[in-house]
Symmetry: D2
Subunit: 181 residues, 4 copies
């Protein structure tokens, strides 16, 4: 059975992204974390610094350990300003550091995994969320992650997305999919 | 004469984005800041919290004060993972808080300004940077900022972009433009 | 009750696009045409010719008459080379001529209508079909058509799409929507 | 020396796309054709018809012969309705037939070539032309064509683009590039 990790990028509890992901993963065994609960320092790009990256004292490695232990990564983020949340972006930016990590081969491990994307927003997300969907395509391509699929939901106030039947319909389809993994 | 503010989203000094922006603004009077030099807390989305947003003790307001004092905002960011840097994203995410700020009307002020985008990346930026260009379109549209234009450069190691003649050609065109403002 | 017109851009009978559209509109009263059954001459751009557009002797006006008589336009096209079919493109290109037609105000009439898009393709359509979805956004925006939504299906050989449960799930959601119009 | 073929998709003579391409290729030896001067029948998708594609009596093969004899293909098209012209789309749609042609291996030959894209439009082409740039990415990727680059110009009435200094600047950069091939 595939081990699923949900990386929630929302800044608030029980937001639409979380609710939609819950519908999608109802009855599916998985690990869920909120990136906001971890201290993640912003990247300092030292790819071309002779001394290389400096060890950073924060919770980043704890998330990476979880990532390494799972087969499917669900990136669930509200659409903030037509992109992923800053919380999630800070986390992904740090992957550049992991690519230079000599303790393990980040890229080799990642390319055996699969990725899925859930995004929710209030301003025409089915159209204005598409650049974000495309951005994840390039991220997954670079890391060799298989792009299973994505799901878009509409909502502003918490609970809105549960009334977005278009999203709920998709969530039910994907629920069958994740149950069968 | 238009007052120009460059918001640099890079995590390192003297990177390609900064170098390309320097060519573009050679001889042009402007204010430049590195977002990384300011402490910016991540947004906590309280749009639907009855108590509203909580005052955050960091340097965000200092940047916003600069934003308010300028007419043209140049968003200069390296392409990290096919998007703007986490530093810049954290900053823009906080705009949601400014939209609720009662001390001034953020949206009213912003819609009198103009925006410009400079992005640099190492992995096929002229194609894979396009979702980011489109994201800024939606950001500017939402805020009512006029989208003057954008510039893309290619480079990994610092200095690379100065050898990207396609980018330098564009930078010279825009230099004329900014000199004429 | 809204009058619905399906404009099918496929070059073959009973292809995936048609099948998916059929599921979507099951039990919904609508008019369906295959653009390939009409002779549509390519546009000759005479917007800046003092003599204006020349009358073209083909079936274009017959489709436009149908368009004018309906409230909702469903653009259903296979993804050919990551875009709409040439048949459909030739038809839409001719709209430039209709915009100069003095017999009626094409734009005034169109902006009271709504648009919907169905696309099917074989090569990763959920990702590689997104530029086409964005193109329709700009087309509808220009004409003032409300963009109701879109639906993507996967399939090469006829019948494939009926096994794409992700698409069929969407089709059922939209079926409810169209029944309620 | 690389042999360059310009495939012009415009429906009118001496339009902006043609003018911009002329600046780009000034002094560069190349073959230029207007697709509109050739009779190209629309594709009839017979990929899944047991009898296969039917021979079509038109000028398509004449263009394909030219394509085969050149190393670099410049796709120059006005932006009609936020996509390539119907003329060019009809031509590219027929590639599906060439892929089944047993007289030669279309894909094998194409993947040794390189592609370049020139697009011109009147409605915010630097932003609203981006889906078309992305579409060509997928077309080239599928065929194995190397995507050299692209150029965007702004203009409605013929001659407009010659006053778009942003485009002319790019054209001059690419002129150096094509002279060096």
């Amino acid at each position: 059975m595939a081990k699923i990790l949900v990386l929630n990028g929302s800044s608030r509890e029980n937001g639409n992204t979380e609710q939609l992901t819950d519908v999608m993963l109802e009855g599916v065994s998985c690990t869920r974390i909120n990136i906001r609960d971890f201290l993640i320092q912003p990247i300092v790009d030292k790819r071309h610094d002779p001394a290389g990256f400096t060890k950073v004292d924060d919770d980043y490695d704890r998330i990476i350990e979880l990532v390494r232990q799972h087969d499917v990564l669900v990136f669930a983020t509200p659409i903030y300003w037509y992109g992923m949340s800053g919380h999630m972006k800070q986390f992904i930016d740090r992957w550049s550091q992991s690519l230079r990590d000599t303790r393990f081969s980040f890229k080799e491990e990642m390319k055996k995994k699969k990725g899925f994307v859930v995004i929710c927003g209030g301003d025409d997300p089915y159209i204005k969320g598409l650049p974000l969907i495309q951005q994840f395509q390039y991220i997954f391509q670079f890391m060799g992650l298989e792009y299973i699929g994505y799901m878009i939901g509409e909502g502003n106030a918490p609970g809105d997305v549960l009334r977005d039947e278009r999203a709920i319909g998709q969530a039910k389809y994907w629920n069958q999919f994740f149950r069968s993994l």
